[in-house]
């Protein structure tokens, strides 16, 4: 399969684990992703209406008047993720504009499902206080009880739904 080009999963996992360990050692926290996307979202909302953001306590926490939503650890980390992903893709010759899906679905169908999945993921990640990076990976490594429950729940959800969207991938 085309996966041959990727590095050995255990090796990549150890690399990922060491990066995570370094984060714990240097700054005392793990990695994350959804927090940065949230900040971007709220910042865009505040451009439309700052008053609206200020009125909602949950949003105001991120970008109320006088708060810079981007002066945050996760935001700088995600900028790094973009660079790291790009460079790795470049070295491996994997940079290419394309849409990935199985043979039984069109590009447009895949885009629609990606958008829908994104919405669910956005709601789920906010509800669970983090996503696969911030909860499963980081919380998993620190043996946080809730994070392990979260992780099992993600896999259950994924496997339960997999049958219904099999046309997208197989």
């Amino acid at each position: 399969m085309e996966n041959k080009k990727y590095w050995d999963p255990y090796l990549s996992g150890i690399g990922l684990g060491l990066t995570l360990l370094l984060a714990f050692v240097l700054v005392g926290r793990g990695l994350g992703a959804s927090g940065a996307v949230m900040r971007l979202t709220v910042w865009l909302t505040s451009l439309v209406s700052q008053a609206h953001v200020d009125a909602n306590a949950y949003l105001a926490k991120y970008a109320g008047t006088g708060i810079n939503p981007f002066k945050n650890w996760l935001v700088y980390e995600i900028v790094g993720v973009i660079v790291g992903g790009f460079l790795s893709g470049m070295f491996a010759g994997r940079l290419k504009f394309k849409t990935e899906h199985g043979p039984n679905i069109s590009d447009k169908g895949r885009w629609g499902l990606a958008f829908l999945g994104g919405i669910m993921m956005g709601i789920g990640a906010r509800l669970a206080y983090g996503c696969t990076s911030g909860q499963a990976l980081t919380g998993g490594a620190t043996l946080a009880v809730g994070s392990w429950a979260f992780m099992f729940s993600v896999f259950i959800g994924g496997y339960a739904m997999a049958y219904f969207v099999r046309k997208q991938w197989l």
Partner: protein, 317 residues
């Protein structure tokens, strides 16, 4: 009793302890000035070396951007002027010791010269452009014979313009962070690099892209070297200069400077361009746009840092 005799820019009112009078206008102008200098430099240099048909984007196409960019830059500069209707006073004096005088006279010559320079290339690239104005057509046709003269004088002025944008800041001794002789060459190099980047964006020939990629790689390397030396110089200086440098070494500008200017504006495009120059296809646009954004941000951060870097003026407290 203390007797304090100071002769410096610090005697101007509102200079100490911090300056907050330059907003977005000056850094934008400095960026556009450097960009124009870079474009004109490469255009005239390769014209003089008789490469106008080998490197058409550099020699012919890029200079067409110069006039609009200059107009935009001067408009920003004009917005910044406190006494807008006294602009002409710059031209009543020639003062070799004042960078502003250098700058205003350079612009005085560079604007008409670059208009003529663009005109001659518009005429060559799009011969039909002057159909409504036959006079212009005849003029442009005649201008062709003076290209060499134009090229030489613009080459000289473009270097002065590129240097001056840095010296404008460094000559101002009241601001420790600007008070470094490295700023002139740094801004010149950065201007040339942004010029090369914009040529990369315009170019359609692979040989030309490859040349400007290599030029850009060299310029970025020089820029990184100059930035390191800028900080070495500050750290070896007086306490005020050390304090100024510390704004970038743990102080409030650290993350933004090293991430967005140095990493994203210099190192990442450097890596991509080296990779591309070895024949891998990645993208021409991404490194070029990163270089342009990095150059703009460099001006913003340096203008900002200079304004908030300060002298320790214990006598007055």
């Amino acid at each position: 009793m203390h007797e304090v005799v100071i002769t410096s820019g610090r005697m101007i009112p509102h200079i100490d302890p911090q300056l907050a009078i330059w907003g977005w206008e000056i850094p934008l102008y400095l960026f556009l000035g450097g960009l124009v200098a870079g474009i004109l430099f490469f255009s005239t240099y390769y014209f003089i070396r008789n490469k106008k048909d080998d490197y058409p984007a550099a020699v012919k196409k890029a200079p067409l951007l110069v006039v609009p960019l200059l107009v935009l830059g001067l408009f920003a500069l004009f917005l910044d002027l406190e006494h807008k209707w006294y602009v002409w006073r710059f031209y009543t004096a020639i003062r070799f010791e004042s960078p502003m005088s250098w700058g205003s006279w350079t612009l005085f010559f560079i604007i008409p010269l670059s208009m003529l320079w663009s005109l001659t290339w518009i005429h060559e690239l799009y011969p039909g452009f002057s159909r409504p104005l036959p006079v212009l057509n005849g003029f442009a046709a005649r201008l062709k014979f003076y290209r060499k003269h134009l090229a030489w004088s613009l080459l000289v002025f473009s270097v002065i313009l590129g240097m001056y944008t840095g010296i404008l800041l460094s000559a101002f001794n009241a601001r420790p962070f600007w008070n470094s002789a490295i700023l002139g060459p740094l801004f010149l190099t950065s201007g040339l690099s942004t010029g090369a980047a914009s040529i990369l964006l315009l170019s359609k020939s692979e040989a030309e892209k490859q040349l400007f990629r290599k030029i850009d790689i060299t310029l970025i390397a020089v820029e990184l070297f100059l930035i390191i030396h800028l900080f070495m110089g500050f750290l070896a200086g007086t306490q005020v200069h050390v304090d100024a440098a510390l704004m970038f070494l743990g102080g409030p500008l650290t993350a933004d400077f090293w991430i967005f200017v140095v990493a994203l504006g210099l190192v990442v495009p450097l890596i991509i361009e080296i990779f591309e120059s070895r024949g891998y296809k990645v993208s021409v646009k991404i490194p070029a746009l990163l270089v342009l954004a990095g150059g703009l941000l460099l001006r913003f951060i340096i203008v900002d840092a200079g304004q908030s870097s300060r002298w320790l003026y214990k006598f007055f407290e």
